[in-house]
Symmetry: C2
Subunit: 142 residues, 2 copies
Amino acid sequence: MKPKVLTPEECNAALTNEKYGRLGLCLSDRPYVIPMSYVFLDNKIYLHSRGNGKKVEYVTGNPNVCFQVDSLKDNRWTSIIAYGTASLSDDIETKMKMFAAFMGKEMKGHGGKQFKREDLEKMPMTIWEIRIEELTGREGIW
Amino acid sequence: MKPKVLTPEECNAALTNEKYGRLGLCLSDRPYVIPMSYVFLDNKIYLHSRGNGKKVEYVTGNPNVCFQVDSLKDNRWTSIIAYGTASLSDDIETKMKMFAAFMGKEMKGHGGKQFKREDLEKMPMTIWEIRIEELTGREGIW
């Protein structure tokens, strides 16, 4: 059966409702995929990471990202893909905005706890801001 | 908390037990991620697709793949990454072997049904065989 193409509104709703996605990066023709928690705010996707691992190396070398969010329930799948570019920062205002949004999504882990500004300032963290250039979504049956 | 590195045995067990993964591809510095059902057989990952969509265009242009399989339960995540190269075929013996393995995993959809050889021969389908070059796994808490 041919998958159904989702409307922009349906894509936005799925991005708003889901908690985890898979971040696709590539460098020198090598793809890399990692699961990450995220929030969708003001039409941008926000992620956070710690340290300088492979994903920071990759995105620094090539800012193009593909952020994929899906829901696989019974025999039905929905998959949203946001193509865009990521920029990294440690901006405290963005960090506060991101954590407030994480709280609203009832995330597990530290994303789900409330922190004061001074605690967030001390927390070593890189904020990823993904500017979406293209958003597509499809749903179908396995 | 620092993620724990999984042993090769734990990575193999996770690949054997899970049903769906995310396939990462890239072409001309553009990453692409899609959810796919799979089976893990003889140390290779098998996928199937229909038609000549974006993923076939991508893998034909660059055979490097990253196949990522995860389990996100409560606040604990496990993620396995298989790096390798994919080759496409419509070989009937491989198709039969792959469908038999899908049956064993109690997949939903047509991957979960039993087919006769003559039915499989008529079924238009591309088989993806991923030769794994590097397998890594980690688990942690969000």
